[in-house]
Symmetry: C2
Subunit: 394 residues, 2 copies
């Protein structure tokens, strides 16, 4: 186990009707003026935005709104948010309230650090500047997937450069509170629910696949969260209004990405980097992209580094192991993982993802242009290996 | 799942040599004058206290010390600490630094809230007053067991009344930081290591045994931490200087009690209440007392409420279940749990705990005098049932 620090100061307020507490929670965390960030029409149509506004008004808070965040959120809206804050009366600092899923929260985080910086916010994402200060962010979560409600991460796409980059700053970007009401996820389209489930599972895999020794406790935590997701996912797909299943999936999504499953690990993240190129180029849903990339990644890396893939197959997918060769166990584990994801309606290759003729040269080029070479830690991947992984996704 | 809030703001600094950062961490968390609380001679003999003092001095901090905390910590030293703080120059608030295990941390927490209150600190423990404010507490952990390094709990014994009471105030009593270096636990006596392991397991059981439905994710988390403890404990007993095993056990002890394994549960805590009477009356080591009380509790409550005991037996102790009656599965699960604890050198009954003729009338009387009737939630226990459980411990 490597030395680590871990701190998860976000106040999670979980359960039925908890969005009604949003005004009080903003006050508790020092808000006076609020900028509400949200995405498309569903937050409006469902009446959630109105309920949130009502709660803020009742708590005596003034607010403005910034809608229009899209999946794979872009730099343009971040800059619009920063300008909006600069134009809001300067009597007190602005509190950012993200009402939505990962894209909305990530946009709020980008605005939060960008608004406290003289240069362009993108400097933080390309490593040109380090965050010194950020505005506080609160969350009303509507899509369990990205885990952004409990993490210090934010992923933004720069439309001019085509780069999709993840920024990590646990000290500055963890939300101060996150309201998590599973009922708000009842109306999610099945494909989005399934993509979210895949995303949270891969958040665990990125930490689980490590060469760090002595990770017994975090391995068991990760396996426990994975088993829970695998048990609850079919319930959620069959009965979208099953409160318990929705609640378990929602909490699992937070646990998958707040760092707890990776304390003391050297983490990997190659699958995420490879998927980011896919969604930057083809605009696919992140979780669905991962359902295609991750099994290909696991197939290739397990050839030279089988250990954790065997453990996953046996402990999470109950693959029988006695008297069998480890590559056979791994193949069955990957088959079961693929089968689980396709049973949720997720794609298993580029074609099913809607990409009939992927430009693999360009994907490989963009990947290493952004992330250098090699990438990943469980197996260090050069261009030859990342090309092979992309080839496997056809 | 019940609605819940969860917030664990403690900064955990985990790994080799991390105690060297104590001065810096105190400064980061606003300290200027520090009161170091510690227990017996081992912290002095090992040189740890000196290293901590050195780090504070290097960081420019002034400090005083208060030693002498004993296992099952008492009110007397808490009052001494509060007086000491009142006598320390009042130029800046005091920062409390606990260097030790649960007893030392719990004493520091009692001083932390008592020093900010005009009445007697014991008012908080008997529910006569509610904490409004507390001094910050930092921790250098030397005994993984109580989980106090990550919890908002404190257990103190009042020598005048003979009461041993647990106070819970997550908002005010969670440490601001906890330094956790597994190497500091190498020299723990085997009996203390084993008692700590039992204590952390029962912290999980108190949350695991619930009638709350829809707890799939927390059940899996709890089972994962339990499996890890069961796998790592024998390594720690056989090789006290096995860094990885010590590290896994140390982190498991925190996870067992920071609330994560019980989010959304109605918890039980009857076993802890029953053990507290045992250690208040006979001065036994808390974890060893639990090794005696818990299996007796589980035997009695599983008769009328078998569900979770079956799940524990099957999922954690790998008890075969096909074609068997549930009471048979439970009996084998309890036998395996007892066997595991005795294999660590823990007692399985009062006699082995050194109590040849327990005064069960008095134990039952004290228990319900302090805690009312009934106690517990998984099964509500009246005097008849708690007597039966104590009888089972003979």
């Amino acid at each position: 186990m490597e030395n680590f620090t871990f701190c998860s100061p976000t106040e999670f307020v979980f359960g039925r009707d908890t969005e009604k507490e949003v005004g009080q929670l903003c006050c508790k965390h020092g808000a006076s003026r609020v900028l509400i960030i949200y995405g498309g029409g569903s937050v409006v149509r469902s009446g959630l935005l109105q309920r949130v506004e009502q709660s803020l008004t009742t708590a005596g808070l003034s607010y403005e709104t910034l809608g229009g965040v899209k999946p794979n959120p872009e730099d343009g809206l971040v800059r619009e948010g920063i300008r909006k804050i600069q134009n809001m009366s300067a009597s007190a600092p602005v509190f950012l309230l993200a009402v939505g899923g990962g894209s909305v929260i990530d946009t709020a985080k980008a605005i939060a650090c960008g608004a406290c910086y003289d240069g362009d916010f993108w400097d933080f994402y390309i490593g040109k500047a380090k965050i010194q200060r950020a505005l506080p962010v609160g969350v009303v979560l509507t899509i369990p997937a990205a885990g952004s409600e409990g993490s210090g991460n934010s992923v933004i796409t720069n439309t001019a450069t085509g780069q999709k980059i993840s920024l990590r700053s646990p000290e500055h970007l963890r939300p101060v509170f996150s309201i998590m009401n599973p009922e708000l996820t009842y109306t999610l389209p099945p494909y989005q629910t399934a993509s979210g489930i895949c995303d949270m599972m891969v958040h665990i895999f990125e930490r689980y696949f490590t060469n760090t020794p002595e990770t017994n406790i975090t391995d068991h935590l990760a396996e426990g969260v994975l088993r829970s997701i695998i048990e609850q996912a079919p319930l959620v797909m069959q009965h979208p209004q099953d409160y318990g299943a929705r609640a378990n999936i929602m909490w699992a999504g937070m646990l998958a990405h707040n760092g707890l499953c990776g304390t003391g690990h050297v983490e990997d993240w190659a699958s995420h980097f490879m998927e980011h190129e896919l969604s930057a180029l083809y605009g696919v849903t992140h979780g669905a992209g991962l359902a295609v990339v991750f099994p290909a990644w696991l197939t290739v890396v397990s050839r030279s580094n089988p250990k954790k893939a065997v453990q996953l197959a046996v402990r999470v997918f109950d693959v029988p192991y006695e008297g069998r060769h480890e590559q056979e166990i791994i193949a069955e584990g990957i088959a079961r993982l693929r089968h689980f994801w396709t049973s949720l309606g997720l794609p298993s290759n580029m074609r099913e993802l809607g990409i009939t003729d992927p430009d693999i040269d360009l994907l490989v080029h963009n990947l290493h242009e952004t992330k250098g070479e090699p990438i990943g830690n469980y197996v260090r991947l050069d261009r030859i290996l990342t090309r092979e992984i992309y080839d496997h996704t056809r």
